[in-house]
C-alpha cells in the first residue's frame, strides 16, 4: 500500500538525515517505528504524512507515485492519513469537539453525522465531560486523547502516530493501544513511533528500526497483552 525505495532526505544543503530507506507497509499492517533520538524518526514520519517530498528515491502512496502526483492531488491523499503529533498540535481557539470534528468537516460530512461520531469517540476516549473545553484548559493526557480522536475520527487508511501514549497513564495507554489495534483490524495501516519498549512488546507488531538514517525491519513477537 505504501512503499519507500531508496529514499533519501536532506534539508537544504545539509547532510542526509535518511539514507537509502526502503520498506513497504502492507494494507492492514501494524508497525512500530523505533530508534534513538536524532535517528530521523520525525523526518520519516513527515514523509509518511506528506509534510515533505523526499530529496530522492521513490515513494508510492495507495498505488500512486508521489513524484508524478500533481500538488492539487495531495489533499485527497492526506485525507486518507490520520496523524497524531507528538506535540498534539490542536487548534487552541477551538474546543475539543471542534478539533476532533475538523477531518469530518473537511470531508463534507453532515452536521448530525459529525455530531454523533465526534461525541461517540470523545466518550470512548473518556472525554465526555471535556467536549467543549479548549485545549488550554486540558491536561497533557487529555490533549493527547483529543489529538488521537482527531486522527482516527474518519477511519483513515493510514494512521501515523508519534509517541501517542507519551503523556497518558498506563491504563489510558493500554486503552489507546487497544483502540489502535481495533482500528488496524478494521483496515487501517498503522505506524506508531515510540521509545516505549513495553508498548512494543505488548502488541508484538513488526518493528521498523531507524538508526543513523538507515532502516531495518524486525519481525514482531508474540503480544504480551492478549487483548492487544
Amino acid at each position: 500500500m505504501i512503499t519507500f525505495e531508496n529514499v533519501g532526505m536532506r534539508y537544504g544543503m545539509g547532510s542526509e538525515i535518511l539514507t537509502d530507506v526502503s520498506f513497504s507497509l502492507e494494507r492492514r499492517s501494524f508497525h512500530f517505528l523505533v530508534g534513538p533520538s536524532g535517528a530521523g524518526k520525525t523526518t520519516l514520519l513527515k514523509l509518511l504524512y506528506l509534510a515533505h517530498r523526499p530529496s530522492r528515491g521513490l515513494v508510492n502512496f495507495f498505488g500512486k507515485d508521489l513524484a508524478t502526483l500533481e500538488r492539487e492531488a495531495l489533499p485527497r491523499i492526506r485525507r486518507r492519513i490520520g496523524v497524531v503529533f507528538q506535540d498534539f498540535r490542536l487548534l487552541e481557539h477551538l474546543t475539543a469537539f471542534e478539533n476532533v470534528a475538523l477531518p469530518l468537516r473537511l470531508q463534507g460530512a453532515k452536521k448530525a453525522q459529525v455530531s454523533d461520531h465526534v461525541e461517540e469517540l470523545l466518550c470512548w476516549v473518556g472525554l465526555e465531560d471535556r467536549m467543549h473545553a479548549r485545549p488550554a484548559t486540558l491536561s497533557g493526557g487529555e490533549k493527547q486523547r483529543v489529538a488521537i480522536a482527531r486522527a482516527i475520527i474518519n477511519k483513515p487508511d493510514l494512521l501515523v502516530a508519534d509517541e501517542p501514549t507519551g503523556n497518558v497513564d498506563a491504563e489510558m495507554s493500554k486503552r489507546l493501544m487497544h483502540l489502535f489495534v481495533a482500528l488496524n483490524k478494521e483496515g487501517t495501516t498503522t505506524v506508531v513511533a515510540t521509545h516505549d519498549e513495553g508498548l512494543v512488546k505488548s502488541v508484538g507488531a513488526p518493528i521498523l528500526r531507524l538508526e543513523k538514517g538507515q532502516i531495518t525491519r524486525e519481525p514482531g513477537g508474540s503480544p504480551i497483552d492478549p487483548g492487544a
Binding site: 509534510a51 489533499p75 492526506r78 496523524v83 481557539h93 475538523l102
Partner: protein
C-alpha cells in the same frame, strides 16, 4: 463565490484590529480625491457647455456713426448665419455693469468710449465655425472682434485636466497603498495563524478551503473600513458643500451634491470589500503554494 466555508481561524485577532481603520482612512482619502476629480469634471462640463452655447462680438470703433453702421452690418450677418438663434446688442448700462468689477461704478462718467457688444446665442446642438465667421465679420465690419472664450477657456481646461490627473494619481496611489497594506496584513495573518494553516493543510484541506477562511475575514475588514471611510468622507463633503453654498460657490456645491456621485460613494465600500478579498485570496494562495 465561496462554496462551503470551514472557518478554522479565531474570531478575533488583535493584530488585525487596526486593519479596518487603516482601510477606512485610505477609503476616506480615496473618496475625497475621487469626488473632487468628478466634481471638477462635472463643473467644467456644465460651465463650458454654457460658454460654448454663446459668444460675443465687440465693435470697437471710435466714431459713433461708423460704429453704428458696422454694428448693423455685423447684426445682419450674424442673424443670417445658420445655427445662430439670436444676436442682441447689449445696452450701455449692461456693458458698464459688466465692466464694474474692474473699472468700478462708471455711471457718472460715461464720456469713456464704450465699445458695442453683441451677445450671440446659438441654437441647441448647433456648431458654428467661429474662425470663418470671425473672418467674414472682419470683412463686413472691420472693427469687429469675435470672442468665443477659447483663448482663456483652453487654459482653464488644461489646468483642470492637470488637477484631475493629479487627483486620479492620488486615487491610484491610495488604492495601491490599500492593496499593499492588505498584503502586509495578510502576511501577518498567515504568520500568526501559521500553525493552524499547517494543521489544516496536513489534514487534507486544499488551498481554496484555507484561503476562503481568509477571504471572508478580509472581505469583512474591507467592508467595515470602506463603510467607515465613505461615511466620514460623505460627512466631510456635506460639510464642505454647506460651507461652499454659504459662500455662494455654486459651481462647487452643485457638482459635489450631484446624485451620480453619491451613487459612486455607495459602491465604494463594496469595491473596498472586493479589493481586500481578492488581494487576500491571491496573497494566501501564493503563500500556500510554498507548502508541499
Amino acid at each position: 463565490m465561496w462554496g462551503r466555508t470551514l472557518q478554522f481561524l479565531p474570531d478575533k485577532n488583535t493584530r488585525e484590529g487596526l486593519l479596518p481603520w487603516v482601510i477606512g482612512v485610505m477609503l476616506f482619502l480615496c473618496t475625497l480625491s475621487l469626488v473632487s476629480a468628478l466634481a471638477i469634471g462635472a463643473g467644467l462640463d456644465r460651465w463650458s457647455e454654457g460658454l460654448t452655447s454663446n459668444f460675443s462680438v465687440q465693435i470697437a470703433v471710435q466714431d459713433s456713426t461708423e460704429r453704428a453702421a458696422q454694428t448693423d452690418a455685423a447684426l445682419r450677418l450674424l442673424r443670417a448665419t445658420p445655427g445662430i438663434e439670436s444676436a442682441t446688442v447689449l445696452a450701455d448700462a449692461e456693458i458698464l455693469e459688466l465692466l464694474s468689477p474692474w473699472l468700478g461704478d462708471m455711471t457718472a462718467n460715461t464720456s469713456l468710449p464704450i465699445p458695442t457688444l453683441i451677445e450671440v446665442r446659438l441654437e441647441a446642438e448647433a456648431v458654428v465655425n467661429t474662425e470663418a465667421l470671425s473672418e467674414r465679420l472682419k470683412a463686413t465690419a472691420p472693427g469687429s472682434q469675435l470672442d468665443d472664450h477659447q483663448a482663456w477657456m483652453v487654459q482653464i481646461l488644461d489646468l483642470a485636466a492637470v488637477v484631475q490627473s493629479l487627483l486620479g494619481g492620488v486615487v491610484a496611489m491610495v488604492l495601491l497603498s490599500t492593496i499593499a497594506i492588505v498584503i502586509f496584513g495578510c502576511r501577518t495573518g498567515l504568520a500568526t495563524h501559521h500553525e493552524s494553516i499547517e494543521i489544516m493543510h496536513l489534514m487534507g484541506a486544499d488551498d481554496s478551503t484555507i484561503s476562503r477562511a481568509f477571504d471572508i475575514r478580509y472581505m469583512s475588514h474591507g467592508l467595515k473600513g470602506g463603510l467607515f471611510g465613505v461615511l466620514l468622507a460623505t460627512g466631510t463633503l456635506w460639510l464642505l458643500s454647506s460651507l461652499a453654498e454659504r459662500m455662494g460657490q455654486g459651481l462647487i456645491t452643485a457638482s459635489i451634491t450631484d446624485t451620480p456621485h453619491f451613487l459612486w460613494l455607495a459602491l465604494l465600500p463594496l469595491l473596498s470589500a472586493l479589493i481586500t478579498m481578492f488581494t487576500a485570496r491571491i496573497t494566501v494562495r501564493r503563500a500556500l503554494r510554498e507548502l508541499m
